[in-house]
Symmetry: none
Subunit: 200 residues, 4 copies
Amino acid sequence: MAGGQVKRAERGPGRPREERVTGAVLSAVLDLVTEQGMEAVTMDAVAARAGVSKPAIYRRWPGKHDLMIAAAETRIGVLTVPDLGDFRAELRAVLDARVEVYRMPGTARLLAGLIAAAEEGGEVRGAYQSYAARIMSETRKILERGKARGDVRADVDVRAAATLVAAPMIFRLVIEQQLPDEGFAADLADMIARAVGAPA
Amino acid sequence: MAGGQVKRAERGPGRPREERVTGAVLSAVLDLVTEQGMEAVTMDAVAARAGVSKPAIYRRWPGKHDLMIAAAETRIGVLTVPDLGDFRAELRAVLDARVEVYRMPGTARLLAGLIAAAEEGGEVRGAYQSYAARIMSETRKILERGKARGDVRADVDVRAAATLVAAPMIFRLVIEQQLPDEGFAADLADMIARAVGAPA
Amino acid sequence: MAGGQVKRAERGPGRPREERVTGAVLSAVLDLVTEQGMEAVTMDAVAARAGVSKPAIYRRWPGKHDLMIAAAETRIGVLTVPDLGDFRAELRAVLDARVEVYRMPGTARLLAGLIAAAEEGGEVRGAYQSYAARIMSETRKILERGKARGDVRADVDVRAAATLVAAPMIFRLVIEQQLPDEGFAADLADMIARAVGAPA
Amino acid sequence: MAGGQVKRAERGPGRPREERVTGAVLSAVLDLVTEQGMEAVTMDAVAARAGVSKPAIYRRWPGKHDLMIAAAETRIGVLTVPDLGDFRAELRAVLDARVEVYRMPGTARLLAGLIAAAEEGGEVRGAYQSYAARIMSETRKILERGKARGDVRADVDVRAAATLVAAPMIFRLVIEQQLPDEGFAADLADMIARAVGAPA
DNA sequence: TAATAACCGAGACGGTACGTCAAGTCTTCGG
DNA sequence: CCGAAGACTTGACGTACCGTCTCGGTTATTA
């Protein structure tokens, strides 16, 4: 019996929000960006595609940029790599996982739109930064595990190293505008292992 | 006597374009983005700031995105590093030069706007890609010089390595939204030297 | 009980249009044309004067010409002359009524703008023609009443005669660019009465 | 030999104007208005059609409106009716001549454009009014001849009567937007003859 | 059971930027 | 000085999108 009423108090009076709407909107954003690019992601277009009204969207997210970030999170979410006992293996796992996500159609456009959105002032910036931090957190963990384990050099700065790991893949996609592949992941793994790995 | 007029006027009939306009517009874009951010870079605002009419702008660039790319080129132009006889030194020169440019106010915003602009189809994309390629060309040259010299490993892929060099700085600025500094450049130089440098 | 809800809301879904906007726009057009002439009737100026946004105007009328016709209708509307039992008296009533309207400041400019607008193809033309027909309908009625009554000659063509009545006043205003006055109306009444009236 | 140098002094220094240009421009205006309507009569379009530069046009006419009036004059010029010894016959001659001109393609559009142009302030207005007066002068002459001859009533106001003659045809064309035909001219002649003719 | 409060779709609203077009002026070259 | 060609400013045009607000109506919780 205990805890039975925990959830009930969370809801005030009035009609509750329909979960269907939230999901439909996020899907609509991803669909539109994938099929037609960022230019097509209009609030009206999203509403029409999701079969939802504009106020219903604005009740959930304060603006377009916030919606973009939320949509990006469903695509490029947090990544978890288990302790494999070896830095090199875990590094490769992270890179391969990213290749897979970045090769999905629409990811490049989504990322570009996200970057543009982040240039805003205000609360959007905070949300974006926390999202960016979350994206890199797993890489950081791997580096710290490696340091503790001893197969990552003790003198590397984890923050700089994490940037070195995360940056090239996204750069190739967004700046060079080409899809990263497994060969690229392998090359990166080799180079980064030499860069931060403890000498044999 | 022959050849006296080799460089004859390359100009067709009619009034030639005023150079003053082209320069004023590009400056206006940079000023606006620096002082007020990408949102303030309105075609009307640019025209007003440059003391120029809108049609004069559209005669030179077909759309806003093209203008953005042109403006970015004047800020983040091609970089030249002379042969210093040592890969490590040249690497550090490239990274330091980039730190300097990226720390200038407005560069982050300009870059973000540029990335968003590049998501367009059509000619804008081509212009952007050629620009991106130009940005990385010097890094490539350094790597190739190093390979020839023997202080860069023979087995590294130049393209992948160039991405490894160029990406982290821009990533820190645009994704992590922090100004890169000399310490970061030094950390990167250390790591990249280990990644691609020939073993002692 | 039946029929209780005959006049149920004829309104579709969504926020209804505000009547205030429609009225304010039409007034703004008339004010501007009266005070500053047709050249001042800019969509932006109308919007500003009416305290309304441009899209709100374009939602109601597809273009500037349509707006002009609508504004003209509120100024030079349909005219009604009751049966006075005598053609001559009714003719004079029509002419005097027109003198009054045409002497209002801005009517000449409005009419000239209207004529220019009518030269368009498409729907504008239809709207204009139906408006022109409405303007002449009362004149036609008077002529037909006179014919039935016997104080208008049986052999006159009503259409041609209606043109003879309506044309001179507007011609004097727009072509000769002078304000018609009561003396002119009296002269016309005399002549037209001889032209179409039944001989004593 | 006398008079040999009369014309030479009329010309200042420099290259004389080519007559070809003046004619080509006026023709281009009429062609454009006939084929595509007033909207197509752009200064650039006229220049292109005439194979002439814009400055060459502006050297001859101070503005677009003046050019329009000049073009209208070449189409709807001054009309001359000889003394036929009978008011009724001369009236019919005037009306038939107008029918012929007004039925030419493009005349309606030209007239509408002219009316719109006249709503300008400044010098254009004067030019337009003198043109309008010229258009009506022949009608006036006929009425005065008739009065002198005795087959026009002595008590009619010539100005008002001239308006009565000139207005209906142009009204049918521009306001009712229909081509006047000979039947209409005949109806008008009958009515106007009764309106101003001396009783048998 | 009734009231209340928050939800829902639909769509108009103000504001602001976009990219285009026309008028009239000015500048270059050549005849 | 005339001519063609074309760039220049000014200012209006009509469209698109954003974020808000107002409808009529629905659905849940509270009184």
